[in-house]
Amino acid sequence: MSTLVEKILAKSSGKNSVSAGEFVLADVDVVFAHDGTALLAIESMQEIGIEKVFDKDKVVFFIDHASPSPSPQISNIHSAMRKFAKKHGIRLYDAGSGICHQVLPEEGYVKPGSVVVGADSHTVTHGAFNAFATGVGSTDAAIAMITGKLWFMVPESVKIVVEGEFKDMIMSKDLVLHVLGEVKADGLTYKSVEYHGSCIDGLSVDSRMTIANMAVEMGAKCCPMELNSVTEEWLKERVGDFKPVKADKDAKYTDELYVDASKLEPLVAAPSNVDNVKSVREVEGTEVDQVFIGSCTNGRLEDIEIASRILDGKNVKTRCIVIPASRKVYYEALNKGLIDKLVRAGCIVGFPTCGPCIGAHMGLLGDGEVAISTSNRNFIGRMGSSSSKIYLSSPATAAASALEGKIVDPRKYGENL
């Protein structure tokens, strides 16, 4: 009678079973940090007084948040990371490789049933691959890098059942925004959220990652998902053998939520809280100064695909930045001719990086500017000036809005596809 998280944490802590509320010491299968968190993790190791890693093949660094470096100070952070990685023989994905949450699974680091710890809150994304994946701070990352273990409280689990199929121009981002609007930004604090149902079973790897990615916006600790057949195939090419974990039929959930996917409409999270969810209808016509399509939420191939379909042969009316989440996504988009269409439509297509999502470089917002972004947070000042405003949406809504310079319902561009 165990949930997914209970099963994974039991196995990783060497127990037959564990239940919610228990503290466990779990073996960590992979731990990573990026240029926003790695240096502090290295410093934490020094504070603790042990500068060694437990297993060089299980520690990974990424230079993705402000990369290539926009300033000498940040270059120094990157240099320190490279030096550490070289000294300890750990893998470092340098500028241009892509966002940690995209590259880690692409490179085969994420296995079903494993424990993934990242010094980044969106580590929950890797739940899409049937893992227990959670974000930690730099000191916890340091402890995991040193000992290969970390304590966890086994979280309670909540079940979200999604049946039916998305209508044209509705994406998994709309689903996750809908859920966020229902449960609110702290609705699942400390919980493990499990998505089930026919809709989820039919989703692509890209769409599943978008859903898991935003679990942390509801406060969730993790979002382990059961595998579906496309994800199994995807993993087979990358990680070799694995044993998928399934929740027991009689597992205990503290709450259940049902969603009919066929009833969803395009949604946004309006400024400046992620749970300020509104339908596009309610905000239609809001003028935008910048459109951003990218990030670990929506910078994958299917996201770029839908944007290029909407923008194909037309011209954007406002500046529109498109950033593929990884080099792999970039060249797949290139090979498919998607980048060509985007550039012709007037988009600024960037190299793989977090980009404007975190307001570190590439497209910061000025005073009073408004952006529509496919990323995951719309907090005050997140993308630049503290008087700027961010609407979060799906790539379809963002691309359609780029065409008109104001927020529009993407379904009006649906028929011609």
């Binding site: 926003g36 100070q73 809150s121 974000g135 701070g137 730099s138 402890i143 570190a360 000042g381 503290s386």
Partner: protein, 172 residues
């Protein structure tokens, strides 16, 4: 262990971007320098009230948002002795414990009645918090033993340096 400080009242969902904006995180690694920008997007004047020993009293979901450990470190460096809230975002909670910033869960009713600026005393050992002007007292959610050890040591690094092991290496 007793903690004293003047109450600084804040609301719901104080996120890590508000505590310390991501833009500054890349400008400097020096926590003391970063502390100058604490709460800048919320209220630039707030930092003056934190100096010299304060206790932040917030409502729901304090510390939500990113995993940046700079957030609790900056609060500590800015003069915050503890944070009391109805609930915390989980990464922030872990980070705060790790860096030795006591984060304390207490009752909504109590939190709503505390006055801004009034002196507070938290007694971790007895599990109580006292508001000295309004004369109120409330229970706080007790820490598991290993967490209490970390907080009492002033952080996990300090604990490890003193004991040459992590607190859970004996018994979790």
């Amino acid at each position: 262990m007793k903690i004293n400080g003047k109450c600084v009242r804040l609301g719901d969902h104080i996120n890590t971007d508000l505590i310390i904006s991501g833009k500054y995180k890349y400008r400097t690694q020096d926590i003391k320098e970063l502390a100058k920008y604490v709460f800048e997007d919320l209220d630039p004047k707030l930092k003056e009230r934190l100096y010299g020993g304060s206790i932040i009293v917030a409502q729901k979901n304090f510390g939500c948002g990113s995993s940046r450990e700079q957030a609790p470190r900056v609060l500590k460096a800015a003069g915050v002795n503890a944070v009391i809230a109805e609930s915390f975002a989980r990464i922030f909670f872990r980070n705060a414990i790790n860096v030795g910033l006591p984060v304390i869960i207490s009752e909504k009713k109590f939190i709503e009645m505390i006055k801004d600026n009034e002196p507070l005393t938290i007694d971790l050992s007895s599990g109580k918090v006292y508001a000295l002007e309004t004369g109120l007292e409330a229970n706080i959610k007790p820490y598991p033993e290993f967490m209490l050890k970390i907080v009492e040591a002033g952080g996990i690094a300090e604990y490890f340096r003193n004991h040459k092991m992590f607190p859970w290496e004996t018994k979790l």
